[in-house]
């Protein structure tokens, strides 16, 4: 841990920072629109429920341009923005561009199919579309994208899989979406500042308790029951109890585990996270719909990748709002998702601190490497930078609104396409990409059987029960604002 890095290391070369730059770029466009009235965000394509395919998408600002032009313009601008990032991150831009284009247009297709009124419309919306039946599968487009991605990632020819994986970057796409979500929370917080702050503090407190309970229990189970060596036990405990892939890598870096350790554990994390993403929203909707914020927060504590957590939160948000609407309560969109992301973001922020603690213990007590120093700056290097973008967007929009610098209507019209249409499209890209990168064949690798059993056992007997309890303890009674 003695390598010298500057505070700004990676600002132009990591996915994390590029999520911040891209997200804040679009937030800035929203701000200029709100401040000047020049519409710089209305072109973003918006997908909506349809019976007539011609009405399945349009520009976010109704009538601003032909729907087809909005779609192509969105493709061009998103392509430029992400390819710019790809170039700075020294990816093969040509390969990225081709694979990105495939993922973009496939995602458009999945989005359109999933928004069909016969699939997605709730019983209350059928009249709007002039239909007399529907499956009422709100959020089905997310699941369609996920399963289509899984088919691509597992059943298509190997050459095609390798080609398309060049641009399947779920963590990057979701981080861009989360930065834009900060603007949404800012808008919502203008009208419900107290509730947003309660969510922030409750999420932080739940996370601190979860961190300190999850890790030692998981580590002890790995060592005592599954008889894993220290390096495997520490990395697996971090992966299953903290934040999946990034925590496993941070911990392995901190204790200098062999590189094969996080490689094998990462594949487990992704497969389990996808399983949770499919199962948990439905289960929580069935059994915990009277506590929507608790249900959302529990996802943040139990689903171990940012992408899968935000994706599960988005599905849960849709399912819970649809269920509440049928009971006559119209919950505001986005609060359940915000609660899922809030706890996850706190967990992400503590990764650096935990890696620092483990590094000290390993250096001084376990491996006794005299002369080694653990730099405090490691905490910053491990800090998830997209969180900076999320909070900047949140407090910027909220601050401008609360200070009365711009009227709420102007802010709403400027930011809505960014925090709505663009964010949801990046969520869709995340779903497609999660499916593509999830390779179930990884589980057949030698040695993974024992790890899989350990991971699954800890998840089921420690992480999920304690996560549900902590989410309830710190959030029960918190109800999202309703709309009339």
């Amino acid at each position: 841990m003695t390598d010298q890095k500057r505070w700004n290391t990676g600002m132009l070369s990591t996915e994390d920072w590029w999520a911040v730059w891209i997200g804040l770029f679009f937030v800035a466009l929203g701000l200029v629109t709100a401040a000047t009235g020049v519409n710089l965000t209305g072109w973003i394509v918006k997908f909506s429920g349809w019976v007539d395919p011609a009405k399945s998408f349009r520009a976010s600002s109704k009538g601003m341009m032909h729907p087809g032009v909005s779609l192509v313009l969105s493709y061009v601008i998103f392509t430029i923005a992400t390819s710019f990032g790809a170039k700075f991150m020294k990816w093969d831009v040509k390969k990225y561009f081709l694979a990105w284009s495939a993922i973009f247009w496939l995602t458009v297709l999945f989005y359109i199919v999933g928004q069909n009124a016969y699939i997605a419309a709730s019983s209350l919306d059928r009249g709007k579309y002039g239909i007399d039946w529907s499956l009422s599968l709100g959020g089905a487009y997310y699941i369609i994208a996920l399963f289509a991605g899984l088919i691509i990632g597992n059943l298509t020819p190997k050459k095609f899989r390798e080609f398309i994986k060049e641009a399947a970057k779920p963590e990057w796409f979701i981080k861009v979406a989360i930065v834009c979500l900060g603007a949404k929370l800012g808008l919502k917080a203008i009208e419900a500042t107290g509730f947003a702050m309660h969510l922030l503090f409750a999420g932080c407190c739940a996370t601190i308790a979860a961190y300190l309970l999850f890790w030692p229990l998981a580590y002890t189970v790995c060592r005592k029951i599954f008889k894993l060596s220290r390096e495997w036990a520490a990395c697996l405990a971090s992966a299953v109890s903290i934040c999946g892939v990034s925590a496993a890598i941070a911990t392995c870096g901190a204790i200098r585990a062999r590189a094969i350790v996080p490689i094998m554990i990462s594949s487990l994390v992704v497969v389990f996270a996808v399983s949770e993403l499919v199962i948990l929203p439905g289960v929580l909707t069935k059994y915990w719909s009277d506590e929507p914020i608790v249900a959302g927060a529990s996802l943040g504590l139990t689903v171990k990748t940012d992408g899968a957590d935000a994706a599960a939160g988005a599905i849960l948000d849709e399912l819970l709002r649809a269920k509440s609407a049928e009971e006559g309560v119209h919950l505001e969109e986005g609060w359940v998702l915000a609660s899922a992301i809030m706890t996850k973001i706190w967990i992400d922020m503590f990764i650096g601190i935990w890696a620092f603690v483990l590094a000290i213990i390993w250096v001084l007590h376990i491996e006794r490497r005299n002369g080694d120093k653990v730099m405090k700056s490691e905490i910053w290097y491990r800090f998830p930078k997209f969180v900076v973008g999320y909070f900047v967007a949140w407090f910027l929009v909220m601050g401008i609104g609360l200070a009365g610098l711009l009227p709420f209507e102007a802010l709403e019209s400027g930011f809505s396409p960014v925090e709505g249409s663009l964010r949801k499209f990046f969520f869709m890209l995340t779903f497609t990409s999660i499916g593509i990168v999830t390779d179930f064949r990884e589980l057949a690798k030698e040695g993974l059987g024992k790890l899989t059993l350990a991971y699954g056992t800890i998840l089921l007997i420690i992480i999920i029960p304690i996560g549900l309890f902590l989410a309830w303890l710190f959030h029960h009674g918190m109800m999202p604002p309703t709309v009339s």
């Binding site: 979860a210 030692p216 585990a257 007590h365 029960h476």
Partner: protein, 75 residues
């Protein structure tokens, strides 16, 4: 393992190696036997017990504060 999947695997390893840059990284192919019998050290007990005590203490204190200042106000 085919050439393509070997190449993909190699890329993933390179990503991780970048993550470890500057550190004395053992070869990714270095066998990392997960079943090595390693004795449970006193520092592991301290780490686990300390963390659990901290977790329970944090849970009690923070839950109390949240109930007094936030959730209490929602009833």
């Amino acid at each position: 393992m085919t050439v393509e999947s070997k190449a993909a695997e190699e890329l993933r390893k390179q990503d991780l190696i970048r993550e470890y840059k500057g550190k004395e990284l053992l070869s990714p192919e270095e066998p990392a036997n997960m079943n090595v019998a390693e004795p449970w050290l006193p520092i592991e007990t301290k780490l686990v017990i300390g963390s659990l005590i901290g977790g329970v203490a944090a849970l009690i204190v923070l839950a109390t504060l949240i109930h007094i200042f936030i959730l209490g106000g929602l009833q």
